[in-house]
């Protein structure tokens, strides 16, 4: 399968660029980021709160089989323009990682295709690199399968 998602991380910089093109109209791509029951499906986490508006806030939580919380993250929306952009903060609770600033840009390519650009700014180069080395930090519940697949190669 072609590599649709690109991650651009320059050495020595405290930022990261994730880009991806979708076979979806830009309206659906945006909705996937704002409807809690949809976010839950593709992010694999529970959505405790998602107020999609300027000054609104969000909170996600993942629990293990015994119901213990293993991941919780939250943030605030600074900009929220339907089908165009979301600017938000991302903070993992109970972790040494500092809050991140995320700029999400939604672009219409054709009527049925769209592009998402995530520009993430970290507090330091070290924190960015640490997060890259620990992909499960960002999506703690899915890491095992991912890493196992990579190891099997």
């Amino acid at each position: 399968m072609e590599r649709k998602t690109r991650v651009h991380a320059e050495a020595g910089k405290q930022e990261l660029l994730i880009t991806r093109e979708f076979d979806l109209p830009v309206e659906l791509l945006f909705r996937a980021h704002t409807a809690p029951e949809i976010v839950e499906q593709w992010m694999g986490t529970k959505v405790l709160k998602l107020e999609g508006a300027r000054h609104g806030s969000w909170q996600f939580e993942t629990t293990d089989a015994r119901g213990e919380v293993v991941f919780r993250a939250n943030g605030v929306f600074h900009e929220f323009e339907p089908d165009r952009k979301i600017t938000r903060t991302f903070e993992m609770e109970n972790s040494p990682f500092a809050v991140q600033l995320e700029f999400l840009t939604f672009e219409k390519l054709t009527d049925n295709t769209s592009k998402l650009t995530m520009h993430i700014i970290f507090k330091s180069v070290e924190l960015r690199d640490q997060l890259l080395k620990m992909p499960f930090a960002h999506g703690i519940n899915m890491a095992h399968n991912q890493l196992e697949k990579i190891a099997a190669k």
Binding site: P96, K133, A143
Partner: protein, 114 residues
């Protein structure tokens, strides 16, 4: 042959070790600092002996290292081992790729069912 089998076992153990969500949370906690078992346990609702067991498993498969500092034993990440399980960027890219694949599938399904 013998050594190959050994490496395979070791490798599987590492992935078994990080299969547990609490152990992943422990690794996350130690990402930028060394901590004692007590300080680590304070971050979980789990009983202290359970946390100790997790620390033992992580130490056995070399993801964590112990360091004696006076009377206290501090745990810290073994950077070399961590690098082994997460080759820079690619696992992170894959995570987002699979996540976005799912997003696409969910929205296509939703749209079709409308």
């Amino acid at each position: 042959m013998q050594s190959n089998g050994y490496i395979m076992n070791l490798r599987r153990d590492v992935f078994q070790a990080i299969a547990d969500p609490t152990r992943r949370a422990i690794l996350l906690l130690l990402a930028s600092q060394s901590m004692t078992a007590g300080a680590i346990a304070a971050n979980f609702d789990t009983a202290r002996p359970t946390v100790s067991k997790h620390l033992q498993i992580l130490t056995e498969c070399e993801l964590l290292e112990q360091e004696q500092n006076g009377r206290e034993i501090y745990y810290h990440l073994n950077a070399v081992k961590m690098k082994e399980i997460a080759d820079f960027i690619e696992p992170f890219r894959r995570m987002w790729d699979e996540r976005f694949d799912k997003l696409e599938a969910v929205m296509i399904k939703l749209h079709t069912n409308k």
